[in-house]
Assembly symmetry: C2
Homo-oligomer: 242 residues x 2
């Protein structure tokens, strides 16, 4: 089952799993589902939602305001666990929509709760995965609160590049990226028009280009310096439980 390798590998870097843990985890990959681009996989107010493990494709999680505005919280790429919070809360407090066509495994609330009863190391690994997600949200908060538009865009591209590299979906100088400028705007607290201008600046400064659904880094170090990007919140220190 090659599609489960990304998540499993991530978890193994954190906790050494027993045979029982591995077996329990394997059950998470039983229910294969696919979704069309634009499909709402999870929606605000949904009761007893499922979670999913992304095998291929991109999604994004977001909240809608009364005004109709949208704030994107995070993007999900292959290997990511999505909707965990929707399981822990009886009713989901956010939406998740497929950006591209998606292949995923559906994980039921009962799968998770069983894992907690019978596979404590796996449970620890899941809590760790949730904490890592929270660390990403925190970094996005810093991005919105204290960085300029140029810095925000640069930071987002570097984060996505790093995350995709971890699952082998990057290449020498960049990565394929199905986002629109509206996605970037709603993730970064900017208007789409301004995102467009910022992209032009970054391109003209020889830092990155984002065109034709591809991000290409031209000056990786320059981008890091500009945005203050530090991989700390994505990196691992080696297993907590051996």
């Amino acid at each position: 089952m090659p599609h489960q390798s990304a998540l499993t590998r991530k978890l193994l870097t954190f906790v050494a799993l027993s045979d029982l843990d591995i077996e329990t985890l394997a059950r998470f990959f039983q229910r294969r589902r696919s979704f069309l681009a634009g499909h709402e996989m999870i929606y605000q107010g949904e009761k007893d939602a499922s979670a999913f493990i992304l095998a291929s494709g991109w999604a994004y999680s977001y909240k809608l305001l009364a005004s109709g505005e949208r704030q994107i919280v995070d993007f999900q790429v292959p290997g990511d666990f999505l909707g965990l919070r929707s399981i822990l809360f009886r009713t989901s407090d956010h939406n998740i929509e497929a950006i591209t066509r998606i292949e995923a495994s559906e994980v039921l609330a009962s799968d998770i709760l069983d894992a907690f009863s019978h596979a404590p190391r796996l449970a620890t690994a899941i809590l760790w995965a949730a904490s890592r997600d929270e660390a990403m949200v925190v970094e996005h908060l810093v991005n919105l609160g204290r960085r300029s538009a140029e810095e925000r865009v640069a930071h987002l591209f570097l984060e996505l590049g790093t995350r995709l590299k971890l699952v082998g979906l990057d290449d020498e100088n960049g990565f394929d990226c199905p986002l629109t400028q509206y996605h970037l705007a709603d993730a970064l607290g900017l208007s789409a028009v301004h995102v467009n201008r910022v992209l032009r600046n970054l391109r003209e400064d020889g830092l990155v280009t984002f065109q034709k659904a591809r991000v290409v880094f031209h000056d990786f170090e320059g981008l890091k310096a500009l945005s203050g990007f530090d991989t700390g919140y994505l990196d691992q220190d080696g297993p907590l439980l051996r």
Copy 2:
């Protein structure tokens, strides 16, 4: 042990705990500590940090940027669990500083990991608590990304009021609040000068006052309408595990 009631009560609304769970949880309250105002309880880069359960006083968690700017992620009030993410990651990715004098219980990494091995329902409850924290961070993200300065301030006061009410630290028309305008600014992605102007506007519009370390609501419904505040992300639906 009256100081443990707030957290324990919160957890019990989510998961019915067994006697063993309760006993394990009780161990979290063994190591009583106190800290002076301004003390750094947890700092970025700290290895093998402890977590804490706040008995009294306020703290705030934040990240520092290379530029020296500060982004406050959340405020912690009595009953809150703080530093959980510092335990799951070997090295802490954020700082937590005491705002007032603090009484707290220190929770070691081993306490948490033991709980995961031996008390699965408690483990589930801890994951739920972590998810609730993440939901708050997400709401702060929405605040920064898509709300105006007036809306942000109003939203923060409503959230703090609601959280304090849950632990009985509010009163008829407001709550005691040890924050400075600099704290508000760094939590809301604004300058302290602008926060001051916004507070004047809200006061002159008869909505809230924030003076002399006290927040007083004058038009609760008006504030809610202004900020689009919805308690959903703080509320509970009743126990997931019975």
